[in-house]
C-alpha cells in the first residue's frame, strides 16, 4: 500500500501534465503512407504538410496556439488507415485529420472521422466517393470525373487518338473511378474503347494483358494506376513492341516512374495538380522554402497538396475562432477563394475543390510541363 501511493501520484502527475500540454497546442492528426508501396506519395504529402505547419508555427501559430502535427504511418496497407485513425481520435484527441493520398485509404478513414464528428481533409484523394461519406469529409484537390475528362479530351484532341485501350487496377478505388470517367467522356466524344484489361495492385507481370492490347490494334493505352505499376506496364509494353503512347492520372507522379521505367517512359503523359515550373510567386516561394527545408528536393503535386491541406485547415481554425468540431467543420465548408500553391480553393456543396489540371510529359528522362487545363 505504501508503495502504491507514489505510483498513483506520479501517474496522476503525468496525466495532468499531459493534459496541460494538450491545452497549449492544437493537435492535428495526419495519416500518410510513409512506408510501403506508395511511400513516395505519403512522404511527399507529409513533407508538404509539415512545412506548412512549421511555417504557421513560426508566425505564431493560430489563435495564439502552436499546431502540433501527430503523424501516423499506415504502411500503404489496407486496413491500417482505419486503425490509426481510431488511435488519433481516441488517444491523441486530435481536432482534425489530414490525409490520405490514396482514395482507398481515405475511404477507410472517412467513416471514422464522420462518426466521431471530427473534420477530415484529404489532400489528394480524387475519387468522388471519398467526400460522399459525410459532411465532415473534405478535400483540396479536383476529383476524378474532371481528371478523367481532361485526359479523354487531351487524348482525343492533342494526341489525335480514336481507338484506345484501358488497363485498370481492380483493387484500387482510384483506378476504377478514373477509368470510368475517362471511358464516359472518350466514348461521348466519338472515340472507341477497343479493349479493357485489368490487374491487381502488387502485380508485376502485365505481359498477358499487354499482348491482348497489342492484338487489338489501339493508338494509345490509358493506365489509371499508381507509379510502380505504371512504370512496369510501360516497360513491358515497349518490350512487346507496343509503341503507342501510354497516359494516366496523378497516380503516375513520382520519381520512381522514371527510375523503374527507364527510357521506356519517355513520351508518356499524365495529368496532375500543379507544376513546380509555374510562374506564380506563391508557387515560387513554396518551391524555394521546400527546397531549403528538404535538402534541395523539388516538391511534387502530393507535397503541394499536403501543404495546401494544412493551410486550408489553419485558415478555417482562425475563422472558427476555436477547435469546437462543428464550428470548425462549418468554417472549412465555408472556404472560398483560398489561394494556395495548387491554385484557388473553393469548397463546393459536395466539399470538393474545383481546380485546373496540369498535363505533364516525360522527355529525355525528365518531367516536362505540357499545358494547363481549366475546369
Amino acid at each position: 500500500m505504501i508503495l502504491r501511493v507514489p505510483l498513483v501520484l506520479s501517474a496522476l502527475l503525468a496525466f495532468t501534465s499531459a493534459g496541460l500540454r494538450a491545452a497549449d497546442t492544437i493537435k492535428v492528426g495526419e495519416i500518410a503512407s510513409m512506408t510501403g508501396k506508395e511511400a513516395v506519395f505519403g512522404q511527399s504529402s507529409h513533407k508538404g504538410t509539415l512545412l506548412a505547419v512549421e511555417q504557421i508555427n513560426a508566425k505564431g501559430g493560430v489563435l495564439g496556439r502552436q499546431i502540433e502535427l501527430v503523424t501516423e504511418d499506415n504502411q500503404s496497407k489496407a486496413g491500417e488507415s482505419a486503425t490509426v485513425a481510431r488511435k488519433l481520435l481516441s488517444r491523441d484527441k486530435v481536432v482534425a485529420l489530414l490525409g490520405e493520398v490514396a482514395s482507398s485509404r481515405s475511404l477507410e478513414m472517412a467513416p471514422i472521422a464522420q462518426r466521431a464528428r471530427i473534420p477530415m481533409i484529404s489532400p489528394a484523394s480524387t475519387n468522388p466517393k471519398v467526400t460522399e461519406v459525410g459532411d465532415y469529409v473534405f478535400r483540396v484537390c479536383f476529383i476524378d470525373p474532371f481528371q478523367g475528362t481532361v485526359m479523354a479530351k487531351f487524348a482525343k484532341e492533342n494526341l489525335k487518338i480514336k481507338r484506345v485501350a484501358v488497363l485498370t487496377s481492380v483493387s484500387s478505388a482510384y483506378s476504377v473511378g478514373l477509368a470510368k470517367y475517362f471511358r464516359e467522356r472518350f466514348v461521348a466524344d466519338g472515340g472507341e474503347i477497343a479493349i479493357e484489361q485489368r490487374y491487381a495492385e502488387g502485380d508485376k507481370d502485365f505481359k498477358a494483358q499487354l499482348t491482348a492490347i497489342r492484338a487489338a490494334g489501339v493508338e494509345g493505352v490509358f493506365v489509371p494506376g499508381y507509379y510502380t505499376e505504371a512504370a512496369l506496364i510501360t516497360r513491358q509494353a515497349r518490350e512487346l513492341g507496343l509503341e503507342v503512347p501510354l497516359f494516366g492520372g496523378d497516380g503516375w507522379e513520382a520519381p520512381q516512374l522514371l527510375e523503374i521505367g527507364g527510357p521506356a517512359v519517355n513520351g508518356t503523359y499524365y495529368s496532375t495538380h500543379y507544376s513546380p515550373e509555374s510562374d506564380s510567386p506563391q508557387v515560387k516561394d513554396f518551391v524555394a522554402a521546400f527546397r531549403a527545408r528538404w535538402n534541395g528536393e523539388t516538391p511534387d503535386a502530393m507535397a503541394a497538396l499536403g501543404y495546401d491541406s494544412a493551410l486550408v485547415l489553419a485558415d478555417a481554425l482562425r475563422r472558427a475562432g476555436g477547435t469546437e468540431p462543428a464550428k470548425l467543420r462549418d468554417a472549412i465548408a465555408a472556404t472560398k477563394d483560398f489561394s494556395g500553391v495548387t491554385g484557388v480553393t473553393t469548397l463546393g456543396a459536395q466539399r470538393n475543390a474545383t481546380k485546373a489540371a496540369s498535363i505533364i510529359t516525360v522527355k529525355d528522362g525528365k518531367f516536362q510541363f505540357v499545358q494547363s487545363v481549366a475546369p
Partner: protein, 297 residues
C-alpha cells in the same frame, strides 16, 4: 494465333519462376513433410541480394556479370536457408508438424518485417544485370530476359534432377524422404541431408528472386508473398514431393494465369489460380505426378 504464341512465351517465363520456387517447397516437403512458408521470403531476399551485389560485381550488365550476381544470390540464400533450418526448425525435430508449420509462418513474417526494416518498405528499382534486348521473330516479340528466365530455370531443373538421381547425396536425400528412420539405420546422417535440402531449395528460390527481378525490375520486401502462394499452388497441382511435378505445376500455372489475364476475364486471374488449388485438393490431392499414398496412422 500470333497472340496465343506470344502468350505462350509470356506464360512460360512467368511459370519458370513459379517452378523454381515450387521446387523448394516440394523438396523440403519431401524430407520434412511440412510446407516451409518462409520459402517465399527467401525468394525475396534473393532479389535483394541481387540488388546489393549488382554494383559490385565485375562486368556488370554482361552475361558473366549477371551470372555472378545470380550465383551470389544463390549462395546467399543457401546460407540463409541453412541458418533458418538450424535456428528455427531443427529444435522442433520430432515435434508435431503443426508446430513446425506455425514456426514457418513466424519465420516468414520475421523475414517480411525484417526486410522492411533493413531494406526499407518502398519498392526499389532493380538494375539491368544481364544485357537486355528484344528479339523479333515474325510477329512475336520477346525480351532476352524472358528467354533467359526460361533457359536458366530449365538448366537448374535438369541440374537438380541429376543431383537427386545421380549422386550419393541425392540417394541419401531420397532415402530420407522415403523413410527417415530406415535411412538413419542405414548410416545416413539425416541432419546433414536436411541441411543440404534447405541449402538447395533456398538456392533455387534465390535464383528465382534474381530472375523475377530481372524480368520485372522492382523489388520490395513483400514481393515474395504472391509468387510464393502461386508456387505453393503449383507444387500441390504438380504433386507435392515430386520434382518434375513441381516444375510442371509451375509452368502450367504460369500458362493458365497468362491466358486468363489476356482474356476479357483478367479480373479473375488470381481467383482461378486458387480455384485450381481447391479443385486439386478435392479431386486429386496427390497432384498430377504425385502418387496417392495412404496416410499411416
Amino acid at each position: 494465333m500470333t497472340e496465343l504464341l506470344q502468350q505462350l512465351v509470356n506464360g512460360l517465363s512467368l511459370g519458370a519462376v513459379y517452378a523454381l520456387i515450387a521446387l523448394g517447397y516440394t523438396m523440403i516437403y519431401g524430407v520434412l513433410r511440412f510446407i516451409n512458408f518462409a520459402h517465399a521470403d527467401v525468394f525475396m531476399v534473393g532479389g535483394f541480394i541481387g540488388l546489393y551485389l549488382a554494383p559490385h560485381v565485375p562486368g556488370g550488365g554482361t552475361v558473366l556479370g549477371g551470372m555472378l550476381v545470380l550465383f551470389g544470390a544463390m549462395i546467399g540464400c543457401a546460407l540463409l536457408g541453412m541458418g533458418i533450418e538450424r535456428l528455427a526448425y531443427r529444435p522442433l525435430r520430432g515435434a508435431p508438424t503443426l508446430n513446425v508449420l506455425i514456426t514457418a509462418i513466424g519465420v516468414s513474417l520475421f523475414l517480411q518485417a525484417g526486410g522492411q526494416l533493413v531494406f526499407g518498405a518502398a519498392p526499389r528499382s532493380f538494375p539491368a544485370v544481364f544485357p537486355t534486348g528484344a528479339i523479333t521473330l515474325g510477329p512475336l516479340e520477346f525480351s532476352t530476359n524472358q528467354l533467359l528466365v526460361i533457359g536458366v530455370a530449365g538448366a537448374l531443373v535438369v541440374a537438380l534432377q541429376l543431383l537427386v538421381y545421380r549422386t550419393r547425396m541425392g540417394s541419401a536425400l531420397r532415402a530420407v524422404s522415403q523413410n527417415p528412420k530406415a535411412a538413419r539405420l542405414m548410416g545416413i546422417n539425416n541432419d546433414v541431408v536436411i541441411r543440404w535440402t534447405f541449402a538447395l531449395g533456398s538456392a533455387l528460390a534465390g535464383a528465382g528472386g534474381v530472375l523475377y527481378a530481372v524480368n520485372y525490375p522492382s523489388v520490395d520486401p513483400l514481393m515474395g508473398v504472391m509468387p510464393g502462394l502461386k508456387a505453393f499452388v503449383a507444387a500441390i497441382v504438380g504433386g507435392i514431393g515430386s520434382i518434375p511435378g513441381a516444375a510442371l505445376g509451375g509452368l502450367l500455372l504460369g500458362l493458365i494465369e497468362t491466358v486468363v489475364a489476356g482474356s476479357p476475364y483478367s479480373t479473375y486471374k488470381d481467383a482461378i489460380a486458387f480455384a485450381l488449388l481447391i479443385v486439386f485438393l478435392l479431386f486429386r490431392p496427390a497432384g498430377i505426378l504425385g502418387r496417392a499414398r495412404v496416410e499411416k496412422v
